[in-house]
């Protein structure tokens, strides 16, 4: 039997429709369940590595000379478990999503492969294995980004992503080669044992190179540009995996290579991490607060959150380099909590955005709206994610940000100019990030889901199928746990922290019980108690509102107040653009938006306006300033090199021969 090519969008003939649909269903279920099963495996393995003995595995035959080495310790286990948990939710979600979006066979195969590659990265125990897994992860994600390659934006985003991820890989490759040469071995354990003998210059070089490579993967400034391009264009489950799990690998690399193997470093290491973290956080959230594309907004929010995590890492490094190990342990706990919380709410947010995209075909917030009545379940899910991302109490991100702020304000500033200068500025940066993050998330939720639909597509939206809802519910449950019962994570974080002696890990970190208590400082907080008390207080307020109930006339539903006019059209609502306009004006100097107002007059009179067009383009100013000149230089250079390519085979053979001769002469 012949069928249409899997990736062709044409509808199969009617008689073939039924078996084709059944097969598509089976394929989607298979792909999704394999992904979820891999996720379960990841969680199990990761947790067993955190709590049990470190796992060690060597497969000698797989690679010549060095073999493949897996070495899963508490730190790797933490990241494997986090990745696994994200994969479970995404796997379940993908079952429904792949069917609804008619995924081709290729992405269905690549999805579990991508998850497997991501699980291998933190498990890698040697430089070679790490690089191999890293490249596998990058390639798999690239292919998945390109799964809707018939659209031009996807191809452009894919090209951008491919170049940046390969450049990042090159930086990491160089760094790890230098490291393994200096550390005298391929396995991480060997290098760590011999890290004492590595010279200062080598350490600096490795740090800078890894900061570039891993920083680009984590979406840190100024190598973040691929993130707001690739994440929106990838299919939503893939966006969720990339944004909630893959960026974590960048952070893992920074912790593993720089803090665990190379550390403890000099003061400026921590300071550098803090500066890049703070800049990324503020820049990311500013862009998110003016973005009008839902998935682009979420992608910039990833840059923001990874910035906060890096800031926390930097604070931990800086503080422990000054001997304030208890406070450093607090900052490190904050970083780990932020990673987990971000993984949970970003999975949920991207899956929610995917449901919206599947139901309406829209990512543009200016055209969405009114989904709360049409997709109540998805709305609740996205609301939980937005609450988590805004860092407010009852949200998943609150505890991590609270701990980060506490570690910053309790740093020992006496007789230490550097700490006394960095900490207030960092607190300001974190607070500005939180404030703008709230604005961005209110915009995403309020404009996207509440009010009335701003387009016919949003008007016709339907709720997502059960499997998609189930995947989201899983992530929402995780958000809930992080928000009100972070105590559940206490033992896990304690184990991971103990594996990080260079950032105060062997000190007692903050106690995560019913009350979060800071070590050695009179400070505490209880998110669970706040939640319970808030529920009681809201009930109390509702009770106050019932006073005088028996005097009231019967309740009524009336049309909106339109200032006396008959009705409000949905075009009269605030859109995402107008909602963010004040912020855009306030931060005009940083954002540099291109706005254009065009007024057309009637031919008869200059005093009558026929129409007003307002256009605003929010490009990434860094991208324009930094990337465009580089791309231009590379193009010029390539043009120049092209002259050496006249197309003659003989000349090419001569090049080869010349190269061989030079090598022979040099290595004589």
């Amino acid at each position: 039997m012949t069928t249409a090519l899997p990736d062709s969008p044409t509808v199969p003939a009617l008689d073939k429709a039924l078996p084709a649909a059944r097969r598509a269903h089976a394929q989607a279920v298979a792909s999704g369940s394999v992904t979820a099963a891999l996720g379960v495996l990841g969680v199990a393995l990761g947790l067993s590595a955190v709590f049990g003995a470190p796992r060690h595995l060597r497969i000698g035959w797989l690679l010549p000379l060095v073999g493949v080495i897996f070495d899963l310790g508490p730190l790797g286990g933490f990241f494997v478990a986090a990745t696994g948990a994200v994969s479970i939710a995404v796997g379940i979600y993908a079952v429904g999503y792949a069917q609804r979006e008619h995924w081709a066979r290729f992405p269905l195969v690549m999805l579990p492969l991508f998850v497997a590659a991501m699980l291998l990265v933190p498990a890698a125990g040697s430089v070679t294995t790490f690089l191999l897994a890293w490249e596998l992860m990058a390639a798999a994600s690239l292919v998945l980004v390109l799964s809707e390659h018939h659209r031009a934006q996807v191809r452009s985003a894919g090209a951008f992503y491919a170049v940046m991820t390969q450049l990042g890989f090159a930086a990491i490759l160089l760094a790890l080669v230098v490291l393994s040469a200096a550390g005298g071995g391929d396995a991480f354990a060997t290098i760590a044992a011999g890290s004492g003998g590595i010279s200062g210059g080598t350490r600096t070089a490795v740090l800078l190179l890894t900061l570039m490579g891993f920083g680009s993967k984590a979406g840190l400034l100024p190598l973040h540009a691929w993130l707001p391009r690739a994440h929106p264009e990838a299919p939503s489950p893939v966006s969720a995996l990339m944004s909630a799990a893959m960026v974590n690998m960048g952070i893992y690399g920074l912790i593993r290579i720089d803090l665990q193997i190379l550390g403890p470093g000099p003061h400026w290491w921590g300071l550098t991490l803090m500066v890049f973290g703070a800049l990324s956080a503020v820049f990311g959230v500013l862009q998110a607060s003016v973005a009008t594309d839902l998935k682009r907004l979420l992608a910039y929010s990833t840059t923001e959150n990874m910035g906060l995590v890096t800031l926390a890492l930097g604070a931990a490094t800086l503080l422990s380099s000054y001997g304030a190990r208890q406070v450093a342990a607090m900052a490190m706990t904050a970083a780990l909590l932020l990673i987990l919380a971000h993984a949970a709410f970003k999975t949920l947010a991207f899956l929610g955005a995917g449901s919206v995209l599947a139901a309406t075909g829209l990512r543009d917030l200016d055209k969405l709206g009114g989904l709360a009545r049409r997709m109540p379940g998805t709305t609740v899910m996205f609301g939980i994610a937005a609450l988590g991302a805004s860092g407010l109490p009852l949200g998943a991100g609150f505890v991590g940000e609270w701990l980060l702020l506490q570690s910053l304000i309790h740093s020992p500033h006496e007789n230490n100019t550097l700490l006394a200068l960095t900490m207030p500025l960092s607190v300001g940066a974190v607070a500005l990030t939180t404030g703008l993050g709230i604005a961005a998330m209110v915009k995403a939720f309020g404009v996207g889901f509440l009010a009335r639909p701003r387009s016919a597509a949003a008007q016709a939206a339907r709720e997502a199928p059960t499997s998609m809802m189930a995947g989201m519910a899983l992530a929402a449950a995780a958000c809930g746990v992080f928000a009100v019962a972070p105590a559940a994570l206490g033992p896990l974080l304690k184990q991971v922290l103990a594996a990080l002696p260079t950032v105060g890990g062997n000190e007692a970190g903050p106690a995560l019980g019913a009350y979060l208590r800071l070590p050695g400082i009179p400070g505490s907080m209880s998110p669970g108690l706040i939640a319970v008390a808030l529920v009681v207080a809201v009930l109390l307020a509702l009770g106050l509102g019932r006073w005088g109930l028996r005097h009231r006339p019967a309740a009524a539903v009336v049309p909106l107040w339109a200032c006396g006019a008959d009705s409000l059209s949905s075009k009269m609502q605030y859109t995402a653009t107008s909602f963010a306009e004040p912020l855009q004006r306030v931060f005009d100097n940083v954002l540099k938006p291109e706005t254009d107002v065009e007024v057309t007059h009637f031919a008869e009179s200059q005093y009558l306006v026929e129409k007003v067009t307002y256009r605003t383009l929010q490009a990434d100013p860094l991208e324009q300033r930094l990337y465009t000149p580089v791309v231009r230089a590379v193009t010029t250079w390539a043009q120049w090199v092209r002259r050496a390519h006249p197309g003659s085979v003989h000349l090419y053979l001569a090049y080869g021969a010349l190269g061989l001769l030079i090598v022979l002469v040099i290595s004589r």
Partner: protein, 159 residues
């Protein structure tokens, strides 16, 4: 500093209040001394608007009797309508009344609002306010003085 001295020199400029007049309309919710009104200009010459503004200014101070003008009909207990109802304002007047939550009162201010006044039977006129919506209190005058407006408001607020 000079401003504070000025406040001290000027003191109270509000007119002394008479005794509360007899209530004509019971306070809409049974709670006296609180009446929020949304103003609708149904087609007035703006004479009544000036007098209403006068009634809420420092000299007459209608607020001391619990009356207040609010921006949204949702916040209001009633309408305070001025002018004849013109064709263009007919539907908006009905819409505004519908937007006011029950129980509510309608106060018509000025001759035009009460019986059409000088504009009665004009080509662009639908009629007086009472022709369009039920009116509870009428304040005649062209325009009525702030004192008259306040006296009428006090019959509703009961203060």
């Amino acid at each position: 500093m000079s401003w504070i001295a000025k406040i001290g020199r000027v003191g109270r400029i509000v007119e002394p209040a008479d005794d509360a007049p007899a209530t004509t309309v019971a306070p809409p919710t049974g709670v006296g001394g609180s009446l929020q009104l949304r103003h609708v200009d149904a087609g007035s010459c703006n004479g009544c608007e000036l007098e209403i503004a006068g009634a809420f200014c420092s000299v007459y101070d209608a607020e001391r009797f619990g009356a207040r003008i609010v921006a949204s009909p949702r916040h209001a207990d009633g309408l305070i309508a001025t002018g004849v109802v013109t064709r263009n304002m007919h539907q908006p007047l009905l819409n505004t009344l519908k937007a006011v939550p029950e129980p509510r009162v309608v106060i018509a201010v000025g001759d035009c609002a009460c019986n059409g006044g000088a504009f009665a039977r004009g080509y662009g006129v639908v009629g007086s306010v009472a022709d369009v919506i039920p009116v509870d209190v009428e304040i005649p005058g062209c325009p009525p003085t702030p004192a008259q407006i306040i006296a009428a408001l006090r019959t509703v607020t009961g203060r």
